[in-house]
């Protein structure tokens, strides 16, 4: 509570970031990186075979890259930053300081990417004679490299949140950036991006390109990329899995909310669909069934969503591993908070001294400071909506449970604060549990 707080009481604060982030990953990976690679490949193929129709198709795809990445893509990228500034200021504030120069570099690459994209699309018709076409294709290759570089930089930051490695001791930028999961996660994302693009673009080609030979030509190019990317994604994915900490590894299934067997069946099935689809692209590009295109599209979007949710979840109870907890409190401050009190150290808390009169209000402030990063009182995620989840608990039970919960629930950060603050939190939760459940009863009786 170094800063004021915002409460999305129904959606949940974490969900706001998640929605923006998932949309951004789909676009940054699938469109900005993957589709750029595919488009330049199509353009190159068209140039080699002197295929005007294929060139036209590539231009049309480039137009959509421009429209999507400079609107939804760019703004959700900035949006992750906007939403974390409001919802997790302590965490993003620390990350900006650790990775400042990485972000400055990211900015320069980002500008390059946008400018190359603008040049790439707007010179398409003007640079058609062979000499200029070659130059145009180079611009496209440059665009693909710039898009990849933006990912290569930001992945350093994301990977460091899970595995900061030696940074915890040295506080050195390079230790944070080249952390244990950096290379595997970058490699994994890179080929995942191309796979995702194949799936996204081929659905639209299957639906809207009526010319069979044009469809065949483009699917052949996609098949080539698929044959490389699918095994690479799989192998690098395994490497990535093996390099994350055991505690995090063990939370993967838990993070999805599925049972172990459902998790295996669903993910196995998705992989199978992707495999069948890739083989089909290569073996008979003319006859890819619509239903398969749609199935693989759905499976991929689902997988990206799952990947993001898992990646965010398994880091718990931390947001920067071993340094900062998910609620923004520093691991090293625990003793201080237990002695001096959480509210006394919370700049934006109004109730510094707890009395019988302000107990519930003080408890609310503890809740806002330590719980709302993940929890709501009432909301759509029933497991995190404490009003329902804790129905039937009394104050005594809450008081006994809260100080030990992090040992039972591995995803929970430890409670930090004095005995009085614990009482206050329990009193607040109890009052909210009663309110939520009474409202339910009243509405049921009506």
């Amino acid at each position: 509570m170094n800063f004021p707080s915002v409460d999305y009481s129904w959606l949940g604060n974490g969900t706001v970031i998640a929605i923006i982030a998932i949309v951004h990953v789909i676009i940054s990976h699938g469109v900005a990186i993957g589709t750029s690679v595919l488009t330049v490949s199509l353009e190159h193929q068209a140039f080699k075979t002197n295929n005007q129709k294929l060139d036209g198709l590539a231009k049309n795809i480039a137009k959509w890259i421009l429209i999507i990445t400079t609107t939804v893509g760019a703004m959700t990228g900035v949006g992750i930053w906007f939403s974390t500034t409001v919802i997790q200021p302590d965490s993003i504030g620390s990350l900006l300081r650790i990775f400042f120069w990485a972000w400055v570099t990211e900015w320069v690459v980002f500008i390059t990417e946008v400018i190359l994209l603008i040049i790439y699309y707007y010179t398409w018709d003007r640079w058609q004679d062979p000499e200029k076409k070659r130059k145009h294709i180079y611009i496209g290759v440059g665009l693909s490299i710039a898009s990849w570089l933006t990912m290569a930089i930001i992945t350093g930051v994301l990977a460091a949140k899970l595995t900061p490695g030696k940074w915890i001791e040295t506080f050195s930028f390079w230790n944070a950036f080249f952390n244990p999961t950096y290379l595997p996660s970058l490699g994994f994302r890179m080929f995942l991006a191309i796979l995702l693009a194949i799936v996204l673009v081929s659905l639209f080609i299957r639906l809207f390109v009526k010319d069979l030979s044009l469809r065949e030509e483009s699917f052949k190019v996609f098949g080539f990329w698929g044959a490389i990317s699918l095994p690479m994604t799989f192998v690098l994915g395994l490497w990535y899995l093996w390099s994350i900490p055991d505690q995090a590894y063990n939370m993967i299934v838990l993070a999805t909310g599925m049972t172990e067997s459902t998790f295996k069946i669903i993910n196995g099935l998705a992989l199978l669909i992707l495999l069948v689809f890739s083989v089909w692209l290569i073996r008979s590009p003319k006859k890819v069934p619509i239903i398969l295109s749609i199935a693989v599209f759905g499976a991929s979007i689902g997988f990206i969503g799952e990947f993001e949710v898992v990646r965010e979840y398994i880091r718990k109870p931390f947001i920067i591993y071993d340094y900062m907890y998910a609620n923004g409190l520093l691991a090293q401050d625990r003793e201080k908070m237990n002695e001096e009190g959480f509210l006394a150290n919370a700049t934006w808390a109004k109730e510094k001294e707890i009395t019988e009169e302000n107990k519930v209000e003080a408890g609310r402030e503890v809740f806002v400071g330590q719980c709302i990063a993940c929890h709501t009182i009432d909301g759509w995620r029933t497991k995190r909506a404490l009003g329902k989840r804790l129905a039937g608990w009394d104050e005594e039970a809450l008081k006994n449970y809260i100080p030990t919960m992090h040992t039972v629930r591995v995803a929970m950060p430890p409670f930090m604060g004095t005995e009085e603050e614990l009482d206050a939190l329990a009193a607040y939760l109890k009052s909210e549990i009663d309110r939520v459940n009474n409202e339910k009863e009243v509405s049921q009786n009506e």
Binding site: M75, F82, S83, G93, R97, F100, W107, I118
Partner: protein, 340 residues
């Protein structure tokens, strides 16, 4: 002052010398705001000219409008990427103030994201349907108008954000974005100053772009020539009004700060005087460029323009530093030299 809700600074040190950070934030913000100015004014110009074209049944005005919309949709992308650097630096060197003032209007601040996505998509729709929707003019104008309204609204959010960060003593007194619009001083004066700057800069951009094009291609089409001179005239007359708006903003500052610009501080007073003199010189060149179509004036006006914008960016930074300096004495930043 100890009762103010200003948090201690983040425990991790600011990753570069403060002076370098300040220089970078001034430079990168100037580049960002120029492209924002282009975008806002070119959209406004496109919609205005398109409406005028429809009313006067003039294909000529319609072509001028189309050209503006084309440029607007390119500059909006650059405006966004250019904004990353100043946002990064303000987050790092003013964490204690900027984060609080942001979170106080948090939901509205996040709403910038969906709003800009909508506005940008509308801008593409506006541009790519220009010829196709010639028979659906009213609908087409509506698309541009909606994008324009959003783009004129968003700056208010950022202005509340960066103005309220200067007033930690008022944070507890007002809740939410819309009440803040009326509560904090300077907001509307800053908005007026920004909108006028946008229009003048946009006019100037159009003038520069077509002068450059005519030099390169050895001539312009009629509508391009008209647009060029129109740009210079808009830039001139808006800048004249801006001289007054600048004073209105100066008088919105608290007296202690205002007086620094009016003699008490040598640097600030010089900067302000210089900017006024240069603005008057710019107006003369713009007059010659717009009414006499003189090339020499074009080059000189570009040089003076760059100077003015740089001084304005510098002054803007000094205002913030002056407002915050008493708080920094009490709640210092974590600087590199303080690293353990």
């Amino acid at each position: 002052m100890n009762n103010l809700p200003i948090s201690p600074d983040n425990a991790l040190p600011i990753p570069a010398p403060l002076g370098l950070m300040e220089l970078l934030i001034i430079l990168t913000f100037i580049i960002h705001i120029l492209f924002v100015n282009f975008t806002v004014s070119l959209v406004t110009g496109a919609v205005g000219l398109e409406i005028a074209g429809k009313v006067k049944k003039s294909a000529f005005l319609d072509k001028m409008a189309k050209s503006c919309s084309f440029h607007a949709s390119i500059h909006k992308s650059i405006a966004v990427v250019m904004g990353v650097a100043p946002l990064l630096i303000i987050s790092v060197i003013y964490t204690q103030y900027f984060y609080s003032s942001t979170i106080l209007i948090g939901k509205i601040w996040i709403s910038v994201i969906p709003l800009l996505i909508i506005a940008f998509l509308l801008l593409y729709l506006y541009k790519f349907t220009w010829d196709k929707w010639q028979n659906k003019k009213a609908l087409h104008i509506l698309v541009g108008f909606a994008a324009m309204l959003i783009l004129l609204y968003i700056p208010l959010i950022f202005i509340v954000n960066i103005t309220s960060m200067l007033y930690p003593d008022k944070w507890g007194e007002v809740q939410g974005f819309f009440p803040s619009l009326l509560y904090y001083p300077q907001i509307w004066q800053r908005y007026l100053h920004f909108i006028l700057a946008s229009l003048a800069t946009g006019g100037f951009y159009v003038f520069l772009f077509y002068e450059y094009k005519s030099r390169k291609k050895g001539g312009l089409e009629d509508y391009e020539q008209s647009l060029k001179l129109f740009g210079a005239k808009v830039s001139l007359w808006i800048t004249v009004v801006q001289l007054i708006a600048g004073f209105i903003l100066l008088f919105a500052f608290k007296p202690e700060v205002r007086m620094l610009f009016m003699g008490e501080d040598l640097l600030l007073t010089t900067l302000l005087m210089l900017s006024i003199v240069l603005t008057i010189i710019l107006c003369v060149f713009l007059f010659l460029a717009g009414y006499k179509d003189s090339f020499k004036s074009f080059v000189l006006s570009a040089a003076v323009f760059v100077l003015i914008v740089s001084i304005m960016g510098w002054i803007r930074h000094e205002v913030r530093e002056t407002y915050l300096s008493p708080y920094f004495d009490e709640f210092p930043r974590t600087e590199q030299s303080m690293e353990k």
